[in-house]
């Protein structure tokens, strides 16, 4: 097959199109500042942290706490950890906080209720609890944090797939 990029005849419309392409901006700004949310999602590096980063992490952890103690979060709720765990901000807290809010937003966007979805999410919740149990012994253990991260990514992907499929179709299952 010939490469028609080079051989196709060039019309006035082609010239106009090429000019228009060149005029397209190479950069576009997001409509909101993405940094604050990003910062909370960044996994820890085992390197020095700027002092203000600790303060930010503490703020995130405080937020996470407020999520934990709300009694009305529905099937995706995680139960409150023992108080002993809450004395310092950790990667686990930041991760939970960000993912739980994303998950709640995605669940809010789903306009159907289906018991099997609730059951499935409960399975992930149970797994999250297990990993958190292990993290209580080994805080910041990278493999456990990766597992936690994976569990939430799976849930978000799952909810995203459900949201993409027509609610009526999905409702049959």
């Amino acid at each position: 097959m010939r490469d028609r990029d080079d051989t196709a005849p060039h019309s006035a419309e082609d010239d106009a199109l090429d000019l228009a392409i060149q005029a397209l901006p190479r950069s576009q700004s997001p409509s909101r500042d993405l940094w604050p949310q990003l910062q909370a999602q960044l996994p820890p590096r085992h390197a020095r942290r700027a002092p203000w980063a600790w303060a930010a992490a503490a703020a995130v952890a405080a937020l996470a706490l407020s999520v934990w103690i709300r009694p009305d979060l529905g099937p995706g709720t995680i139960s409150a950890p023992p108080l002993a765990q809450l004395d310092s901000p950790t990667a686990e807290h930041s991760l939970l906080n960000v993912y739980e809010s994303q998950k709640a937003a995605q669940m809010g966007a789903l306009n159907f209720s289906n018991p099997s979805v609730g059951r499935q999410l409960a399975i992930w919740d149970g797994a999250v609890q297990q990993v958190r149990g292990a993290l209580s012994y080994y805080p910041e253990e990278p493999r456990l944090l990766r597992q936690l991260d994976r569990l939430y990514r799976q849930q978000l992907n799952y909810l995203e797939t459900l949201a993409m499929v027509d609610p009526q179709v999905a409702a049959y299952y």
């Binding site: 992930w124 797994a127 297990q130 292990a134 493999r143 597992q147 009526q168 999905a170």
Partner: protein
């Protein structure tokens, strides 16, 4: 047993002559190129796609009784075929597959095929230019496909046979069966079981609750991930594989060549057991926590076996 029955039922559907009913017949063909890009959308029914002997796109059968017609366009190396529905049917329930289209489609073997449906059972075979097949509720039977092969369903079963190239198979609830695949393959399910016999050099498997049983040969890179589901893998003909595994409470059993050269790094963080039938090394237990850890090497240690679990049992055994 249930799976076998349903597969036979699907096969029966596909073999039955098309019933005469209110569905409109269709018999169309177009001359196309040997490597035509073909896109097909059929919302519900059953579709069988086979390679044609000549460079022709051909579609025969009956179309959905609720459809208002179809669109077949073929131009400049692109052919697209769609069943058209009245706009009022948007957001409708597509689950009555019996009323859907029943189509037999032929495309050139070297075509690159994209197929999309909702409640449609699709049986596709022998396309070597690449296949991207997705359905929501229907089943997929895909055999002898090559190049890039994407098979995705939400609730349907996927039966993959002798596919090659870079293969992606994903479902949420459906069962996945794969036999004879080569190349590089990713299996992904949430609930569905996975049963595979593969000679792919790179294999990745991800499940949440589903059980997975894999018999692999010659796989060099293997990634395993499960939450609750158990995974059982036999990996033959691989002496220096790179294996990464992660489970939460699911058990992982890994059968490996007795002559394997690899460094093993296995940890059970909270309650899981580690059983090692490869060497006399035994897992050590943390003094201040529940973790068990096993670290040893065989042969030159060229390969790697890294596995982590929270509370699942890990077992490594020689084949």
């Amino acid at each position: 047993m249930k799976a076998i029955l349903s597969k036979n039922a699907l096969l029966l559907c596909l073999l039955l002559p098309f019933a005469a009913n209110a569905q409109e017949p269709i018999d169309e063909s177009r001359s196309v190129s040997a490597n035509e890009r073909i896109s097909i959308e059929v919302m519900r029914g059953t579709v069988r796609i086979r390679p044609s002997d000549d460079n022709v796109f051909r579609v025969r059968g009956t179309i959905d009784e609720d459809a208002e017609g179809y669109t077949l366009e073929s131009d400049n190396g692109f052919t697209s075929f769609e069943i058209d529905y009245p706009r009022s049917s948007r957001g409708r329930n597509w689950s009555d597959a019996d009323d859907g289209s029943e189509l037999e489609i032929e495309v050139p073997q070297g075509s690159e095929l994209e197929f999309e449906g909702v409640s449609v059972d699709i049986d596709v075979m022998g396309i070597t230019g690449g296949s991207d097949i997705s359905t929501v509720n229907g089943d997929i039977i895909a055999s002898e496909l090559g190049n890039f092969v994407n098979l995705s369903a939400v609730n349907g079963e996927i039966d993959s046979r002798n596919n090659s190239g870079r293969i992606d198979i994903s479902t949420i609830n459906g069962e996945v069966t794969d036999n004879g695949s080569t190349g590089r393959i990713d299996y992904s399910t949430i609930n569905g079981e996975i049963r595979a016999n593969s000679s792919a050099t790179e294999v990745s498997i991800s499940t949440v609750n589903g059980e997975a049983v894999l018999s692999l040969a010659g796989t060099e890179v293997l990634e395993l991930s499960t939450v609750n589901g158990d995974i059982d893998v036999r990996l033959a003909d691989a002496l220096t594989p790179r294996i990464d595994g992660s489970t939460v409470s699911g058990d992982l059993r890994l059968g490996l060549e007795p002559g394997i050269s690899a460094s093993f790094d296995i940890s059970a963080n909270s309650g899981g057991d580690i059983e090692n039938d490869f060497s006399d090394d035994r897992p050590s237990r943390d003094r201040y926590g529940p973790r068990k850890h096993l670290n040893f090497s065989t042969g030159t240690g060229a390969g790697s076996v890294n596995i982590t679990t929270v509370s699942g049992d890990i077992e490594i055994v020689p084949l």
